[in-house]
Each structure stands twice: as C-alpha cells, then as structure tokens.
Symmetry: C2
Subunit: 215 residues, 2 copies
DNA sequence: TAGATTGTTAATCGATTAACAATC
DNA sequence: TAGATTGTTAATCGATTAACAATC
C-alpha cells in the first residue's frame, strides 16, 4: 500500500469507543477472552460490523474458537484511538458547562488534558477548578503558543463563540470542540466538532414519539 | 397514504436543527426569503440533501425562482421537530453538569422544560437552580407519576447511572437522555440517547491528526 | 474430528448526489 | 421569454449485513 488509506470510516471510528467501554466493563467482571459476537451483543451492533471495525483498527489477530485476549484488544483500541499519547487542550468560557468539563476526571482516560481555563469574568479569573487555573482571555494567545497546544474546548455563551473561535485560530489552535449552539466558521486547516444538543434532543424526541404512538 | 412512513431518516432528522439555526441567524440579518441553495451553503451540506430533508419535514411549498419565506420555513421545521408543544423533563444528578443543564436557557427554544432536579446530596437538596427546585431522589417516583413526565436527563456519576436509570424506568419515564459515560440497559419501550463524549473526541482527534499530517 | 470463531468477500440496503422536468 | 429554483426521479456511492472459507 502506497500512501494508503486516509481515514477510517467515520462510522467505525464512532463505534470504537463504545466497544472500549463494553470491554472495560467486561474486564472488570473478570472476563479474560472475548469474541466479536460477545462484543456485538454488549454494544448492541451487528457482529459483522464489529469484525470489520476491529480489523480496521488494526487489532492483533484473534484466535478462532477463542477470540481476543481482553487486555490486548483494549490496549490495541486505546492505542489506535490515541489514548496513550496525551493531548493538551485549553478551555474557553468557564461558566457552569466549562467548569463541569474542567472537573471531569474521565478525560484522562481518553488522553485529554485540559491545562487551563480562560474567561473574561473577574469572578472566576485566578480561581482553580480541579486544580487547573483560570486565566484572563488576554493571556490565551501567548499560552497557546508557548505550550504548543493544538486543541481547544469552547464553552462560552453563543454570542461570544465566533469571536473566541477566531482568537483561538489566530493563536494556532487546530481543533475546536464546540459546546456552544453557535455555528462557527473556521478555516479548512482547523478541525471543528460541534456538540449538538439540539440534534440529540431531536433524535430522542422522535424516538419517544414513536414509542408512545405504538401503544 | 395508509399508516404511512414510520420514521424520518435519522440523518435528515439530525440535519433539521442545523438548518433551523442557520435560518434563524439569517432572519436576524434581515433575510426574508431563502432558497435551498442558500441553506445548503450556510449549513455546509449538499443542496440535494437540503431539498430532500425539507420535503420530508413537510415544509410548505417553496416558489421556483424565489425560494421559501423565512418565517414560514422556520415555523414549519419547528413544528415538525415538536418545538411548539413543550416536553417536561426531570433531571437526575445535580452535579456541575446537571447544574449546567438546569441553568441552560436555550432548552426553552427546543420545547424542553426541566421541571426539577433530583439528587441524593443534602448540600443541593432544597436549593434552586435557575428557579428550579432540587428534590431528594426519594421523591422522584411520585413526582414523575403525578406530573406525568415522560423524559429524563441523567447526569449522575457513572456508578449510579444504571440504578437511577432503573428507578426512572420504574417511575414511568419513557425517554432517557444519558450524559454519563455508562452504557445503560433499558427495556425496548424506553428510548435512550447517549451523549457520547468519547465518540466526539475520537472524531475530533482523528480529524486533527489528519490535518497535522498534511503539513 | 467436530465445531466455534476469525477475517474477508459478496450481496444488500440506504443515503447521498446528480440530473432534469415543472414552474413561476 | 429567459432563467433561477423547486421537487422528484435516477445514478452513484458507501456502509451494513450475510455468507463462507480458513483456522485452531
């Protein structure tokens, strides 16, 4: 293969963290080997999809009639998802949502490390949340440059989102995780992931409606 | 059509709130009519997809050479998504994330109304967040039954998630919006939407990796 | 050996995109 | 009338599912 495969299918990429969670739960229950059929059942997806996703993720060979060693398969998926090499991130907008994310211990498992929060409000500037300092937005650019941070989490009010986004891009941030409802514009050299509350609610409401209709 | 179409394609359903946000932003800028081409550009999707989604959502006829009246199309999409008839919800787990969601004013736009929070911690019980009372979990079942609430938002620590989930189901909740990383088990009569932080991060990290690789 | 499971190949399905007639 | 846009139909694409040979 020359200059091979650019991107794992998006759908596969989204399922891998789900498998990982299932596998870790199984391991906690003392499971030592696991088959694709078992993963499929636990993650509630088709078994063909599991097999294909695992091979895409480059999981070490499983043994026919046995399956995969649970430690190995977990290690392989984590390494594929990059959970081992820590990614630093800054967080902009230390409101309740921002504080919730700064306090969340689970990010460490995913290799994400929020190094500091930034805000414009004097009440939070200088405080520490989960041990991480909150700095004024004025210090954002120099901090990002000095620490060579590539990822940012955006949790400002929607009105400020684009302005802060522009500032982040200017500072050299290359990936923005947007928790605001604003539709942001970023240059093509910057990755953007919208955490879309309205989308999720639309899906859930529609499912609920169908369930209630059936009765 | 007899007993027609059970479910709008999931992909379409997810895009509609995006269009809605774009349309509202346009209206704020004084736009009065809009074409599917303009929506497609703003939402950054293919124009065929927009046309198809709009027709699925039952948007009132657009006029060739003119497009859609912006007030009408917004009204149509909102009504299709059920933003007009308010859905009550309870929230379980009034930690930082729970408080952030209870404080979020934007839910009103989506027709979602959190009527109360529930927690086991004495420190928050009895307080009010954004005017909404926090009650002990012991009162959950009776409240859900009395107020006929069908939807719940789950923001507990992962350890308690399944227990609280079971309690919600027992109380008659039919749709659970799960913000915890736990993989929940619910009966088939209950809708479940996982807000999957790990999935989003995997997608963003992968995009970032590709962008950095190109340089 | 028999049988369960892997890993891949082929078939199916659904969603996206392109094309175009109808319309104002 | 000319031309832009709608709304739908057909073509393409990709992802899911089924099937099966290889293997332990």
């Amino acid at each position: 293969m020359i200059d091979s495969q650019t991107s794992v299918a998006l759908a596969s990429l989204k399922r891998l963290p789900v498998y990982l969670k299932c596998l870790k739960d199984m391991r906690k229950d003392g499971v030592e080997t696991v088959s694709s059929v078992a993963i499929a059942a636990s993650a509630m997806v088709n078994q063909s999809v599991v097999k294909k996703d695992l091979s895409l993720a480059g999981v070490s060979e499983g043994k026919p009639r046995v399956g995969y060693k649970i430690d190995e398969i977990i290690e392989d998926i984590e390494s594929f998802l990059g959970y081992n090499n820590t990614k630093d991130a800054v967080l902009v907008g230390v409101g309740r949502m921002g504080q919730a994310l700064m306090s969340y211990k689970g990010f460490a498992d995913y290799g994400l490390n929020i190094i500091a929060g930034f805000d414009i409000c004097d009440k939070v500037i200088g405080t520490r949340i989960n041990g991480k300092i909150v700095l004024p937005v004025g210090k954002l650019e120099s901090a990002v440059e000095k620490l060579n941070v590539k990822m940012a989490i955006l949790t400002t009010p929607a009105d400020n989102a684009q302005i802060m986004c522009d500032l982040l891009v200017k500072a050299g941030i290359r990936a923005i995780w947007n928790f605001t409802p604003a539709r942001l514009e970023v240059p093509p050299t910057v990755a953007l992931k919208n955490e879309n509350i309205a989308e999720s609610l639309a899906v859930l409401s529609s499912q609920l409606q169908q369930i209630l209709k059936k009765e």
